[in-house]
Every structure is written in C-alpha cells, then in structure tokens.
Amino acid sequence: MHRTITLLRGGSRRTLARLDGWMNALYGWRLNPLYHSGALVVTSFVVLLVSGLYLLVFYRIGSPHTSVAGITAQVWAGRWIRTLHRYASAVALVAALVHAVRMFAQGRAWGPRALAWVSGVALFCVFLLCGWTGYVMVWDEQAHLLAAEGARWLDALPIFSEPISRAFVGERPMPPAFFFLNLFAHIALPVGVALLLWIHVSRLARASLLPPRALLRGAVALLLVASVAWPIGVAPEADLLALPGRVPFDVLYGFWLPFTRPLGAGWVWLLGLLVVGILAAVPLLTRPTRRRRPPASVVNERFCTGCEQCYHDCPYEAIAMVRRSDGRDGWVARVDPGLCVSCGICAGSCAPMGVGPPGRTGRDQLERVRAFLDHVRPGADDIVLVACDRGSGGAAREERFLDAPVLPVSCSGSVHTSVIEYLVRAGAGGVLLVACPPRDCWNREGVGYLEARVHQGREAELKERVDRARVRIVYAAEAEPLRVAAALNGFRAEVKRLARATAEERIDVEAECEVPEASAAEVG
C-alpha cells in the first residue's frame, strides 16, 4: 500500500508541477488558478448560493419539471441563471479535485492537517450529494436515473419498511412529498458545506477563502460568459415507464452511475464505503514512519524574549503565549506539538533564535551555513543559491546549479535572515533565495514572510547593514528550472558590476542574539 501511495504521490506531483509551469507562463503565479483551487471552490459555492436562491423563488415541488421549463423559457434571465448554477457546480467539483490532489501530492494530509483532510473528504462527498439532489429536482430523464439508483441503494439498508424504489416504478404518479424531501436535502446540504468548511480551515491561521480580486472577477466573468454563450436546455420530463435514452448527462456528478448500475446494491455500499474509507485513511497512509517524522517545534525559554512574533507568524496557530516559568517576568512562547506541522516558519520569525523544530532553529541553520562555507568557500564572483527543497525549479536537488553552489532548505519561510547575512559577510558575491511561488508554499505563508523579512523590515528582518544589491529572491515552481537559470544569470551580471565582495574575518551574528549576561545568570 505504501509503495502505491508513494507512486501515486510522485505521479500527481510531477503532473501538477508541469501544469503549474504552464499556468504560470500564461497567468503568472499570482493568478495561476491551480494555486487557488480551494478558494475557487469557495467562489463557486458563493455563486451557487446566489443563483440557487434566485431559482428557488420559481421552483415548484408540485410540478418540478414544468416549473424548471418555466424558469428556462419565461423567467427573466432564468435560462442563464440555471446555466450559471449548473456550471458553477461543475467548476466547484473540478477545483475541489485539483485542490485535493495538490494536498495529497504535497503530503499535506497527516498529523495536525488530518482534520482538514478528513473534513475535505466529507466536503467532497457533500458536494456530490448536493449535485445529486439538484439534478433530481429537475425531474428529467437524468433525474429519473439518479433517483431510481439512489432508491435502489437505500432499499438495501434495513431502514424503510416499504421499498423506496416502488415510488419510481410507474404504478402511481410521483408523490409531491418526494420532491419536498429532495428540495429540503438540496437546501440543507449547503448548510452542511458551510459548517464543514468552517471545520476544514479551523486549524489554519488566516485561511485564504477567496482568490485575489482579479482572479475572482475573472472566474465569475468566465462563468457568466459561458452561461450566456452556451445555455442549457430542458431535457424531456421523466417518464417512469420509459428507459432513459440518450440524455445530457453530468459525468462529473454522476461519474459513478455506469459503474454502480450493474452491481448489486450491497456491493455498491461496500465499494463506496471502501473508497471513502481509503480516502479518509490517507492521513494514516501518508504519515512518515516515526523515525522520519519531522519533530514539532520547541521553544528555548532562555532565548525567548516574549516578542510574540512567532505567535503571529505561525500559519497553523500552534503557538500560544504563556506566563514564564523561569522566574523572569512576562510571557514566553509555547508550542502545542499536537498542532505543529514542523514547517519551521517560526525559526525564521525569531530574532534571538529561540524557537524552531530541533535541528532547524536559527542557531542550527547558522551551524549548517558554517559547515557549508567550510566545504564550498564561495568567492566574490559566486552566487549562493538558498533553495527550498520543495519547488524552486528542482534547484535544491543539485549540489551546484549552473555552477552556483546550492544550500538546500526545507522551506524558504524558515530561513533565518542571519543565514543570508552570514553568507554575504563571508564574501559570497550574492545570495539568490529560490522560493516556491507564494500561493504554492507548502506551509501556506512561508514565502510571504521571507519577502517581508528581507524587504519590508518584518521581524526577524534582514539587517540594514546587509547590502540588498547582493540579495535577490526568485519564485519558481518545481518545473521551472529555466526561471531559476534566468534569474541566476541576470543576478550574476548585476553582481559583476558591483564592487568586489570581501570576506569578513570574524562573523558573529549570534552574539547579538545572546541572552544578556544578567538574565542568563538569573536563568542559571
């Protein structure tokens, strides 16, 4: 099973990387819709709510098909709003699928993220159910197919005293109570979606529920254009004594129908539960073994000044500020290991280097830089690449990229700015920070913090004394090595025009991060 999962993850990661590359070329990383797939589901959901409310005004449970035909032919903009409702539901499902595949490919399903994953699976199922009930509302041939199939499944459960399927055999006309129940479900399920969405993002700080404004407007405009240009029609009314012929069928919401129809209802339940069970178990199936599991972040109370920066920056709300327990006054950061995903972003937040996952704190990073410099010894013409090992055009996989030495990091948002300073002061001609496009940060917000720490003075900021002309950030998706190459070549040319870099004899960036003597003595 683990081998299959690894193969699946690798395959989906490579496919996504390629698609991301194409989309970045077309729209730029800011508006790449693949990076905003979760937010596009929310956008489609809002469109569904608004258009659905309009349609609800004209829908009649006593004459479902006639009222839908009326909406399409007589109601003002009815045909377009119906189409908009249909197409938004299709886009929601496709976007949800892309979003889920991305989370899976990036291994973002286990540990504290399991809640988001499992509620995501539930969201997906509720979307499918909502589409199902929506199609039944229309009461055309497709509706008949879907309703009869659903009834067949329900009859296999020992719940109903009378088989529900008998409602669809044609002995009697369909009872309005059926359409009432179906409408009730179609309205209640979106309430479930809202509730599940709240749970879905409950462990995320500052969840991005909507895409950037330009993408949001573009997505809605495209849906409107498609609805007007290619409106849906009205299929023939369901005839209970007819076998559905050639019908316009939604293969997104009804993909399962051709598979389930030949199976006994018991098998359908069994296979359905198996598929949902496997999906819900992905957090367990993708969890690294205990030895390879990255450890949660730890606060070294000795260095923590209680500045709250890590508490604000943690994208997973895993840090709380609590009273100090070391006899000193004030507050200290405390990490909840049950919520920490070990992204390392707090290591980059903390000026005194008092927090971070073991082995990846600011201090640990400086250790690595020293070892790196001993080994590489970059000269005044050399650009050092500090590359995130997730995306970054795959640069972090090499020891040298286009002859530039590479220092791989686990997330560029976890890089402490002292590392950049150290490299510059050690005489490197320049430092090229290669990060994933911000909306594709595997840790949600890391790249944005890196940019803010280097250029906008956000704590722990890159010190004024570091020549910004020797520091550059480039965003590159996994399949964009050419972007890294272009940035590197351009930067090389610029650095050549600068005064020759010189190495300092003694670099001691930690000294200013040490605890003042007095308090160190207090700590004992």
Partner: protein
Amino acid sequence: MTARTPVGVAVALGLVAGTAFLSRVPLSLRGPDESSLRLSWRLDPVSVASCRPRTEEELARLPTHMRTPTVCSGGTLPYSLTVAVDGRELIRDTVVASGARADRPMYVFRELGLDPGPRALDVAYLPLSGGGAQLPPGAPSLEWRGTVTAISGRVVLVTLDTAGRSLEVR
C-alpha cells in the same frame, strides 16, 4: 495586458467550456434495442397463525408487561413467484412478508431485460401451502397469462389492478 493575455483568456474559456461540457455529455445508458419487464406490487400478509388463550399458570410466569391474553404460532403465508417469457422460465422465487417478524406487507419488485416484439408472458404469484395443508380463506392467487408487446425503450409493467385483486399489464 501582456502579449499572452489573449492566449490566457482563450485557454481559460476553453477550460470553463470543457468543464461545462462534462456537465452535459450526451450519453446513452441503454442499448439501442432494449426493453424491460417490471413486476411491482404490494400485498397484505396472509396470516396462518394459530392462536390459543394463555393458561393462568403461563400468565403468572410472565412479567406483568408481557401478559398478553393469547399466544400465537405460525406467522404469514409465503408465496411463490414464477415468471416465464416465451415459455422460458426466468424467475422462480419464494416471497415472504417483510419486517423483522415477517408480519409486514409482501413486496414484489423485479426488473428483467426483454427483447422488443410480441412476447408470451406467464406470471404466477401463488400461496405456498406447505405439505398440502389447507390454505386460509382469502389468500389471493394472482396469475397473468397472455401476449405483451415489448417496445424498445419502454417498460412493460405488471402490477395490481386498481381494485387490488388481480394482475394487469400496463
């Protein structure tokens, strides 16, 4: 606005149109020459229970809330369902009353594929007396024998007539 904008807009439109198409693919979920025979009816169960009053001792032995005055054994009558099309038997089955205690109505709901054209149909739904025992009065026996014309894409429905006494074909 860059040189790539028109391509980007065209690709986005294409993606939305593709997704929209997936929501309305013309699909045929049956063969060109398919018809079907559907049997569907509901009958009240026929009780074959024999009941006797409980003796004083039996009543005394039972907890207060279980002291029903009569005790019954037996249950409801099972039925046999046979269906033959053009002389070929396609269904031979026993139907029992529904419910955990088999005291709820009997439901028949079957669907079979049928080749279009005139078909000799023979449906029998008969009580199973079990060892030649006397059938209770009022146990219905339902039979339908005749020719039906199966039309491609249509269902031949065998069900109870409005009076609920005999089978009819619709």
